[in-house]
């Protein structure tokens, strides 16, 4: 088996035992990228020289017996939305095409402290808005399982690079499903932590009350390793939770005794692809065979989740993206100076800069959000959405009194064709149906492969747990992976 087909956990062992060097490993991934990424398009930027230099430095330190970080020598890909002083952070937008942050996001700083080799920056939907990565201003990313199909989004590049064997670990962000949905469509593991578990400092905001950073990997063990590296309280993020982070890798092999799995009645309604339904139902049977009890539960307000999400997320986005006006940040219309604030030319500069800098989906959401927050509409939309959000959270609170994990599909269908939903934003929004609730309720959720469609496309299983129960989530997911072998089914070749 070649290096790039092994799990990060295995690779870390080889590194620590001195069987392989980080330079060797990094080079193997760079070779994979070289061979495949012109077709997949997962990466926006690669700095091979810097990655190899860093790998060499880690190798030297390892040889001289110096203390090393948790991920010492492992390549990690980072979604192009987390600030890093050593590269640009574009958010796949023309607006930030040349933005080079002067500071590291907390997650990037933690990765650097853990001696990860930051191998490249992955593609995404512009400002993380979308479910297909087609909204990137720079390039399309293709699903490694079928190059005609989308990898999902917005962390499409993050999922595709792991699925394509171009990185063992990758960092994504999830606002309404942006880690779990592409992980599901690309057949990898993707975990969205509890809101506040991972610092948002240096994550370019889409919707602040929903955004979370999380890991994508080949296995649950690998996801646990990456999560415990990036999680933890951050005094620079007021919404970060000040609770200790368990060592997930230490407990992940312990099966959950007396596990209670909840199956949500509303999740198996119309619109669910029969192949997806049967794969998910089979997965639930696997849990039963492992001794878990399965209970049908109801989340009565989940039918409002997408509507609620598409009021709250755009509202926050309309505000978060106000700073890209060409004065301090972002693309400026080809005028050299900021005009006199009392003149009409200032408004003209704002208008031109924003019209040119943002893509259509971002504009659509800014408009939606600005509308929902306007005087006269605020109560009917934003305030109402906040109330429904509370009801959705209460549904989960009630559910988690009866069950430990909720099992569901990740998406209603396997990966869709590129361009298939591009002109139909409403259908694209419904792709988030199974994932948005976790963001609205602040819960952790994980997506893991649970089968393949007849056309050979991966199908994902989603597990959700109560806030801060990532350990339960990972142990539960790992039980399933030990009992099945979907995760080891690798791509033979790109098709």
């Amino acid at each position: 088996m070649s290096l790039t087909e092994q799990s990060a956990t295995e690779l870390l062992q080889l590194l620590n035992q001195g069987e392989i060097s980080s330079v060797e490993l990094t080079q193997s991934y760079l070779d994979q990228i070289e061979a495949k990424d012109s077709q997949i398009g997962a990466f926006l930027r690669i700095d091979a020289k810097a990655a190899l230099a860093r790998a060499a430095d880690i190798d030297t330190r390892r040889q001289s017996g110096k203390p090393l970080g948790k991920l010492a020598g492992l390549p990690v890909a980072v979604k192009d939305v987390l600030c890093d002083t050593e590269t640009k952070t574009t958010c796949a937008s023309r607006m930030l095409e040349n933005f080079r942050p002067p500071y590291d996001s907390t997650v990037v700083a933690k990765l650097k402290a853990a001696d990860a080799v930051l191998i490249g920056r992955t593609n995404m939907d512009e400002f993380a808005m979308g479910g297909s990565t087609e909204n990137s201003a720079f390039q399309i990313t293709r699903n490694p399982w079928d190059l005609e199909r989308a990898p999902g989004g917005s962390s499409g590049g993050a999922a595709a690079c792991v699925a394509g064997g171009m990185a063992p670990l990758s960092i994504g962000t999830d606002t309404g499903g942006s880690i779990r949905q592409p992980a599901g469509l690309c057949g990898v593991v993707g975990l969205k932590p509890t809101y506040g578990r991972v610092s948002r400092y240096g994550l370019v905001a889409f919707a602040s009350s929903l955004d979370q950073v999380g890991p994508l990997a080949n296995t649950t063990e690998d996801a646990a390793l990456l999560l415990e590296t990036i999680a933890g309280h951050d005094p620079l993020d007021s919404t970060s939770l000040d609770v200790p982070v368990p060592e997930y890798t230490a407990t992940i092999n312990r099966p959950l005794e007396g596990l209670r799995i909840g199956v949500v009645r509303e999740h198996f309604a119309t619109g669910l692809d029969p192949e997806v339904e049967s794969a998910v139902r089979d997965a639930i049977k696997v849990y039963e065979s492992l001794g878990a009890t399965v209970k049908e539960i109801s989340l009565p307000h989940s039918k409002y989740a997408v509507a609620t999400y598409y009021v709250i997320a755009p509202s926050e986005a309309s505000s978060n993206l106000a700073r890209y006006d060409g004065v301090h940040f972002g693309h400026r219309h080809s005028q050299l100076s900021v005009p006199d604030p009392t003149s009409n030319s200032l408004v003209e500069m704002y208008r031109c800069s924003r019209s040119e800098g943002f893509g259509p989906e971002v504009k659509r959401r800014i408009m939606l959000g600005a509308y929902a927050l306007s005087a006269g509409y605020y109560d009917a939309y934003y305030l109402k959405a906040l109330k429904v959000r509370r009801l959705i959270r209460q549904d989960f609170d009630t559910a988690f009194e009866q069950v430990d994990l909720i099992a569901s599909p990740v998406t209603a269908e396997p990966a869709f064709k590129i361009g298939q939903l591009a002109d139909d934003p409403l259908s694209m929004y419904l792709v988030d149906l199974y994932t948005v609730s976790a963001n609205l309720a602040g819960l952790p959720g994980v997506s893991l492969p649970c089968g393949f469609s007849s056309s050979g496309l991966p199908i994902g299983l989603q597990l959700q747990a109560k806030p801060l129960a990532e350990e339960t989530l990972l142990r539960g997911a790992h039980m399933y992976q030990k009992a099945t072998d979907w995760q080891s089914r690798k791509l033979d070749q790109l098709k």
């Binding site: 500071y103 400092y201 602040s208 926050e316 700073r323 301090h328 900021v338």
Partner: protein, 490 residues
């Protein structure tokens, strides 16, 4: 025409809180640094950065809110006030909208000096925290208009104190501002420096008129850009007259014209229509998802209240009730600020004579401070030295007639009273020497003796002058008494 209308005034005061660092980051708030040197990713709204509340700023705001008698709710939150402007890098200001940190307070004003109005309670609608914007600098030299922006001020903590429309004249508005400034300085939450923008004031003004058809209100105008208390007074007076004129011309009532913003132009003494930078009336306020709500318990509020110290209002009443000063004198002393009052108390308690101390401080100390354009902290005569002067005078060690000379010398030469007495050659003249001097002068001035005997006691006055020439230490009072006694015995 002022009899025909009432001026209705509400003030919005922005106070820069005296913190070392900004409201949501650690940058310095020091005034006057090179442009854009006191900034960081957070206060300039760099993509990805997040605010973290400065506890000290919140504590100072809480202290102020308690001092202006506000209610402190258990729960307060942050909201984004959104508008586009080049000096606002995030595209929104972090402020407080529907759940401010304090509300329903009041401030008592009075103006004993002029006696124009009775002590009066001015309602305070709310006081809330927000972060300041930057400063736009418009450079229009060389025939081209170029704008530059300094973000040093961006993120500085401001407390916005909104009064009820309870003020009825420019003089009341000024009294309110002076009392507020005094209070803020007493509790040490702000340096209230208007030149540096630590205290800014906008006024909402309109008129209530009595007409044949009943009461009528004119449209409300917000006046901005007033850089001194004097400017506030002038602007309100100007605006009231202007509104009355406009009303006579147009008859426009409140609601018939939108709220207008006008800027005060100090040079021309006029308010001029201003295009507000926050032009949009819809700020699309919503709770800032990057910040968590702030909670305060009644115990925390009680703690803040207990630590406030004495406020100007209670200080005034204590001075007149407990120490017998007139309300006028108490007002003069308290209005000078905490430092002078501390000076006063130290002196008064040391010499144990509040009234005499008050006379010295209000008549002499304040005069010298004004002449020398200095502050009490830098004044040459310390509180204890002034107390020694007062005690020496009471003991008779320093004749009353020479105490002012001694004081002037202490001020000029930074010496204590004993040294001054010494240098002025002051020594007590003993009674027998004084009697001898009396006799000598009476003997050489028979005309004066005759005048006194004829009932013109004031004739002795010219002898006092001669006596002082012969011996400057002569106590004129005692000399006069002795002369009259001797003449009576003749």
């Amino acid at each position: 025409m002022s009899d025909s209308y009432k001026t209705i005034i509400g003030l919005e005061v922005h106070v820069q809180l005296a913190t070392n660092s900004k409201l949501f980051c650690r940058c310095s708030t020091q005034f006057g640094a090179e442009p854009n040197t006191q900034t960081c990713p957070v206060c300039i709204g760099m993509p990805g950065s997040l605010p973290v509340m400065n506890r000290t700023a919140y504590q100072l705001a809480l202290k102020t809110a308690v001092a202006i008698n506000c209610e402190i709710p258990a729960f307060t939150k942050w909201d984004r006030k959104q508008y586009f402007y080049p000096d606002l890098p995030k595209g929104y200001q972090i402020s407080q909208f529907d759940l401010p940190m304090s509300a329903n307070g009041y401030l008592e004003i009075s103006d004993e000096k002029e006696g124009r109005f009775e002590p009066k309670r001015i309602g305070i609608t709310r006081a809330h925290l927000e972060d300041d914007a930057g400063k736009s600098i418009h450079d229009e030299v060389h025939g081209k208009a170029d704008s530059q922006i300094d973000l040093n001020r961006t993120g500085t903590p401001l407390l916005e104190i909104v009064s009820e429309p309870d003020l009825r004249s420019s003089a009341e508005a000024r009294a309110y501002l002076e009392e507020l400034k005094l209070l803020l300085e007493y509790i040490g939450v702000s340096d209230c420096n208007m030149q540096e923008g630590s205290l800014r004031c906008d006024a909402n003004v309109n008129l209530h008129l009595e007409t044949e058809n009943g009461k009528v209100a004119t449209p409300i105008v917000e006046i901005k850009n007033m850089n001194s208390f004097r400017a506030v007074e002038r602007a309100i007076d100007y605006e009231a007259e202007r509104q009355y004129r406009v009303w006579q011309e147009t008859g426009q009532r409140i609601g018939e014209a939108p709220k207008q913003t006008r800027g005060w132009d100090d040079a021309s003494g006029k308010t001029l229509p201003q295009r507000s930078k926050e032009e949009s009336s819809d700020y699309r306020y919503f709770p800032d998802p990057d910040l968590v709500p702030v909670l305060s318990t009644p115990e925390q509020v009680a703690e803040v209240r207990a630590a406030l110290g004495e406020l100007p209002a209670s200080c005034r009443s204590r001075l007149s009730a407990d120490h017998g000063l007139s309300p006028y004198d108490a007002n003069v002393l308290v209005n000078q600020g905490r430092a002078l009052l501390d000076y006063f108390f130290t002196t008064a308690k040391t010499c144990n004579d509040f009234k005499t101390t008050c006379n010295w401080v209000t008549q002499h100390v304040l005069r010298i401070l004004k002449e020398q354009e200095t502050t009490i902290e830098e004044f040459a005569v310390s509180a204890l030295q002034l107390a020694e002067l007062i005690t020496a005078t009471a003991d008779g060690q320093l004749p009353k007639s020479r105490s002012k000379d001694a004081f002037e010398m202490m001020c000029a030469e930074k010496i204590d009273v004993a040294t001054a007495i010494d240098r002025l050659g002051i020594e007590q003249v003993d009674e027998s020497a004084l009697v001898a001097l009396c006799q000598e002068l009476l003997a050489t001035n028979p005309k004066i003796v005759a005048d006194v005997q004829a009932g013109k006691q004031q004739a002795v006055g010219s002898l006092i002058g001669q006596a002082k020439k012969k011996n400057p230490n002569v106590d004129p009072g005692r000399f006069r008494e002795l002369c009259l006694e001797l003449v009576a015995k003749m």
